[in-house]
Symmetry: C2
Subunit: 197 residues, 2 copies
Amino acid sequence: LEKIILASKSPRRCELLQNIGLEFEIIPDDSPEIFRENLSPEELCMAIAKDKGDNVYRDNNLNEELVISADTIVVIDGTVLGKPKDRKDAVRMIKLLSGREHSVFTALYIRKGEITSLTSTETKVRFKELTEEEILWYVSTGECDDKAGAYGIQNLGSLLIEGINGDYFNVVGLPICTLGNILKSKFNFVFNTKTEV
Amino acid sequence: LEKIILASKSPRRCELLQNIGLEFEIIPDDSPEIFRENLSPEELCMAIAKDKGDNVYRDNNLNEELVISADTIVVIDGTVLGKPKDRKDAVRMIKLLSGREHSVFTALYIRKGEITSLTSTETKVRFKELTEEEILWYVSTGECDDKAGAYGIQNLGSLLIEGINGDYFNVVGLPICTLGNILKSKFNFVFNTKTEV
C-alpha cells in the first residue's frame, strides 16, 4: 500500500483529500520561503509548492513515499493578494475584488522518489458588487483573517461570490480532478475506496 | 428575530445554511408531487420548489415565518436526469454525462406571509472523459445512489468534474449568493452573524 504524505497544514486541503477517500499523514514544511526575483505570480506559486514538497522529502529522509504539496494564490490585475496584514488591509482587498473577476491559481506538486509532477490550475472567481456595509460586515466576522485575498469561498464568503469558472476545489486549495488524473497516469495510483453495499 | 424554516430534508441544504450562520428549523414537505404537463424542466423545477414551500406553509398553519424551499435538477440534451433506479441506471447516467457539459438548475422559493420570491439559477458542469473502468468504480462506491444525475459534486464526484461555470453551491442544492441577495432586498433580512474577535 502506498504511503501518502500531505505536506501542508491547511485543514481545508486535509478535508479535500479525506473527501476522496485517501489515507495520508500530514507533515508540514516549516522552512522559510526562499526569496525569488523575476518570476510571474504563477511561476512563484509553482516554485513554492515544489519547495514545500522537496523540503519535506529531504528533512524527513523520505524515499518511496508519495508526497503532495500545494500553494494557492489570489491574483487581480497581475498582483498577488496575500494574507491581509490587519482588518483594514482586508477591507482594501475585498474592495479590490468587489464587482469583478479575479484568478485563483493552485500549484500542485507530487513526488515519489525521483518521479515528480508540477502543475498549475487556474479558476476564475466573480465577486458580486458589494456595498461598503457588506464589506465591513464580512471583514468584521473575522473570516478574512488568515486567508489569501481576505476571503474564504466556503462559508460566509459564499454570499459574496456570484460564480466561478473552473474547478471549485482548486479555489479551496487543491485541484482534485487534476490531482486524480496525475495520481493515476503518472504514479499508477489506484483509487480503491471502501465500498459500502 | 426572524423565524426561518427550511422546507427540505436534504442534509446538504441544511449544511449550506449553517455555513452562512443562519438559525433555522427543518420542516420537510411530505405531500406527493403534483403531476404537471407541458412544462419545461426549469418550469417544472420551479413549480416543485413553490409547492414544497406552500405545502409547508399550509400544513403547519404558518403566518409570519420565513420559509425557504428548493428543488435541484440535472439536465442534459433537454432531458431531466432524476435519481437512478438502480446501479445499472446510474452507469447509464454517468456515461451520458462523461466528457460533456450539462446544466444544473436549482429553483429557490422564499415566502413570508404574502411576500414571495421564486427564482431559478443555472450552473454548467463539465465532466471529464471517463473510462468504462472509472464509471464502474464510481458507481460501485454507492455515492450515485440517492442523487439526481447519479453523482454528487462534493466527495468522490470531485474526481470526475473538470470544472463548473456558475455558483458551486447551486449544484450542491442552494444558490447561496442569490439567496443572500433576495433575503436582503425583498425580505429586509439582516445577516448578523456572531463575530468572533
